[in-house]
């Protein structure tokens, strides 16, 4: 997802921490269910996003990455969900205690979200244009006609060809990639400062995925938007993220800038993920093919997270301390944090995947 004007910045955290960041999630805790079946879905998640920056939240299913985003947006279903602690601040304003009307106003105006499955996120009985135009009508007081014109402009912005005609078409008449574009258009209609993209390309083919990620990256840069990219794909993250937060069992287990994460992964879970992914630049079978080294076992059930480090039952390096003590995020220098008792030891070793390091390019 190459930027058109030179390499994308690989900068770490923004240096100026005196002003409050665009979005700050602080020690967020969420539970689902009651009594013995209580699932601790978020167990103290903290992250922040600054203007114009891309934070990638990386994790497998059940790690809590989507629930965090839903809590930030205020669209978490309660019940069954229950926010038991923590804070979400948008430009310093605490949201969890804000009244629902205020939160409704912020949605769309200040923060917006796009989802994995664009077909089920769009209403099949209204035209795509109508669904985008709604926001202009109800939030900006425009007439139907003016709102439709603006909707067509939005479709044009996300590079849907013949936007003027297609604005009257229905979601089923759009291809998968175009639906995702339409959803991006809808989320950007009121010019939000923060965009949360929850697995925006997971359902798409790889050539379309490349187009959509490029579009998102360009729009973020043009508008100076903060972008939270939720994904499980280590490849997508490597191409667009400024910073990366790796989640496991409702916790952030590692957090650093993109370059350091791949060069010096410090948490055994992050390292395990990297060893598990078959890559296009793998030497594969024909060459010195090596077996993948998967992480053994399964992620824990969230209603029975193991004591100590939640990763210890699957970790090859687990010691006694790992079963007794929950590791906190420790500073490894250079704004690199990892929640592992032995993080210092791992961060010193680079990753050791033999790849050809050769990839096809334009």
């Amino acid at each position: 997802m190459a930027p058109t004007d030179g390499p994308a910045p690989l900068s770490a955290c923004s240096p100026d921490r005196s002003v409050s960041p665009l979005l700050e999630v602080d020690d967020l805790r969420v539970e689902f269910g009651q009594g013995r079946d209580t699932a601790s879905v978020l167990n103290g998640v903290s992250y922040h996003v600054d203007e114009g920056e891309t934070l990638a939240v990386l994790g497998e299913s059940g790690s809590g990455k989507s629930v965090t985003a839903q809590t930030v947006m205020g669209i978490l279903d309660t019940p069954p969900g229950r926010i038991t602690g923590g804070a979400v601040r948008f430009r310093g304003e605490e949201l969890l205690s804000a009244d629902p009307e205020r939160r409704r106003l912020l949605r769309g105006e200040s923060m917006a979200m796009i989802f994995q499955d664009a077909l089920s996120a769009l209403n099949p009985v209204y035209s795509v244009g109508f669904q985008i135009a709604e926001q202009f009508r109800f939030r900006r007081g425009m007439s139907r006609r003016d709102a439709m014109v603006r909707a067509a402009e939005m479709l044009d912005l996300v590079r849907i060809p013949n936007a003027k005609q297609r604005v009257r078409e229905y979601p089923h008449q759009f291809s998968g990639g175009m639906r995702q574009r339409a959803m991006i258009a809808m989320s950007l209609a009121l010019d939000p400062e923060l965009l949360i993209a929850d697995e925006p390309t997971t359902a798409l083919d790889v050539t379309v995925q490349a187009q959509i990620m490029e579009l998102l990256d360009e729009l973020r840069r043009e508008r100076g938007m903060g972008l939270i990219l939720i994904t499980h794909d280590l490849g997508v993250v490597a191409e667009v993220a400024d910073r990366i937060a790796v989640m496991y069992a409702g916790r952030i287990v590692e957090h650093t800038d993109a370059a350091s994460l791949y060069a010096h992964p410090a948490h055994p879970y992050t390292r395990g993920l990297m060893d598990s992914v078959p890559r296009v630049d793998d030497r594969g079978r024909g060459g010195a093919g090596i077996p993948l080294r998967p992480i053994p076992g399964l992620p824990p059930s969230l209603s029975a997270i193991p004591d100590g480090c939640p990763f210890h039952p699957r970790c090859a390096h687990a010691q006694d301390v790992c079963t007794d003590e929950v590791p906190v995020l420790r500073e490894l220098g250079d704004a690199h944090q990892a929640a592992c008792h032995f993080a210092e030891r791992f961060v010193a070793q680079g990753p050791d995947r033999p790849t050809t390091h050769e990839v096809v390019s334009r």
């Binding site: 997802m1 190459a2 930027p3 030179g6 390499p7 994308a8 690989l10 497998e60 291809s175 998968g176 990639g177 083919d205 790889v206 050539t207 490349a210 187009q211 490029e214 499980h232 794909d233 280590l234 490849g235 997508v236 993250v237 490597a238 191409e239 993109a258 370059a259 791949y262 395990g272 993920l273 990297m274 060893d275 598990s276 992914v277 078959p278 890559r279 296009v280 630049d281 793998d282 594969g284 079978r285 024909g286 060459g287 093919g289 077996p291 993948l292 080294r293 998967p294 992480i295 053994p296 399964l298 992620p299 790849t355 050809t356 390091h357 050769e358 990839v359 096809v360 390019s361 334009r362």
Partner: protein, 335 residues
């Protein structure tokens, strides 16, 4: 090279598009598979890659005899696959099995794991006498890395990765020679996906299986496959060994696909550029004349609209490519 176990020539599968309720008439055809030829040798893995709608799953269904072909031939160990009827067809099914994509819907929720994995023995009682079945099922569960004690459990008591292992155990039950894997790991999380891929490799070595491995994930295919066929809109556009495809891809579509795959290496950022394809895949009811890729191809010229390029070795390549302007790719090295 050894004699292929499965050999497919000019396979075509068209689905009619009909209009009208009382007077149904055919108004066109979806050309799902349109002239595919391939060979699968014993013990090897042939990867079939392509984007959604390219016909790779239809190919699997036709080869499994789940749906009849429109035309074309396929031979299994020298015998005509599509001519098999009755007992011969049933007997052949022992030799070729399938693992499906979705581990949630491909297992009957009302049956225990023992019933699911043991069902092939009901249909083919000659493989295992009834008295021996329980032991055979437990052996199979152990082979795929499941606890043999869990034979009485139901599918919902297992995770996605474990369910896929159940599906693999079922496919292995009759000791087939060929297993068609239709996107076997795409519904799984990364760490679980790697476990299942390693299992497939181990089983292949142990039982000498040949895999026809259908997938859209190019990383997975490179990892597992000896040879690769790239499909676009019902036809194979390029085929070769994994090395030939991944490092010397010469069809513009293969190159675009490979360049679009994100690589987990930030040092490539800004130095590697995706070959951007314009527009969408054309409708398979009305594919473009000549080369089917020409409507999106950056190299398209007049000849491409008239002359469908044959899948053959070309001057600039070391493997068959269906492109008039085939040339080696531009490679970028990471630091």
């Amino acid at each position: 090279m050894s004699r292929p176990v499965l050999s497919v020539r000019d396979l075509v599968k068209h689905y009619p598009v009909t209009r009208g309720v009382v007077f149904r008439r055919t108004v066109g055809h979806v050309r799902a598979v349109d002239g595919v030829s391939l060979d699968l040798h014993p013990g090897e893995t042939l990867g079939v890659v392509g984007e959604s709608g390219c016909g790779k799953s239809t190919l699997a269904q036709v080869l499994m005899r789940l749906t009849p072909p429109t035309s074309g031939t396929a031979t299994f160990e020298g015998e005509d696959l599509f001519a098999k009827r009755g007992a011969a067809l049933t007997a052949w099914r022992r030799d070729m099995q399938i693992v499906l994509q979705d581990p949630y819907t491909s297992l009957n929720p009302r049956k225990t794991v023992g019933d699911i994995v043991g069902e092939p023995f009901d249909i083919h009682p000659e493989v295992a006498p009834k008295s021996d079945r329980r032991r055979r099922v437990q052996e199979l569960l152990e082979v795929v890395g499941l606890n043999p004690e869990h034979i009485r459990r139901y599918p919902h008591q297992f995770s996605g990765g474990q369910r896929q292992r159940i599906g693999i155990a079922r496919a292995l039950a009759l000791r087939p020679k060929v297993i068609v894997c239709d996107e076997p790991v795409s519904a799984l999380d990364v760490s679980i996906q790697a476990q299942v891929l390693n299992l497939l490799s181990d089983l292949q070595r142990e039982f000498g299986l040949a895999y026809l491995f259908i997938a859209h994930d190019l990383g997975v295919v490179r990892h597992l496959c000896d040879r690769v066929a790239v499909m676009y809109l019902g036809s194979i556009v390029e085929t070769g060994t994994a090395e030939e495809i991944y490092r010397r891809a010469s069809h513009p579509y293969t190159q675009a696909l490979l360049s679009s795959v994100p690589v987990p290496d930030p040092s490539l950022r800004g130095r590697r550029h995706a070959i951007r394809l314009e527009g969408d895949v054309p409708s398979p009811t009305d594919p473009p004349s000549g080369c089917r890729f020409r409507t999106r191809c950056p190299k398209a010229a007049a000849i491409c609209a008239q002359d469908p390029p044959a899948l053959e070795d070309r001057a600039s390549t070391d493997h068959p490519t269906a492109c008039h302007f085939a040339e080696p790719p531009h490679l970028v090295r990471a630091e």
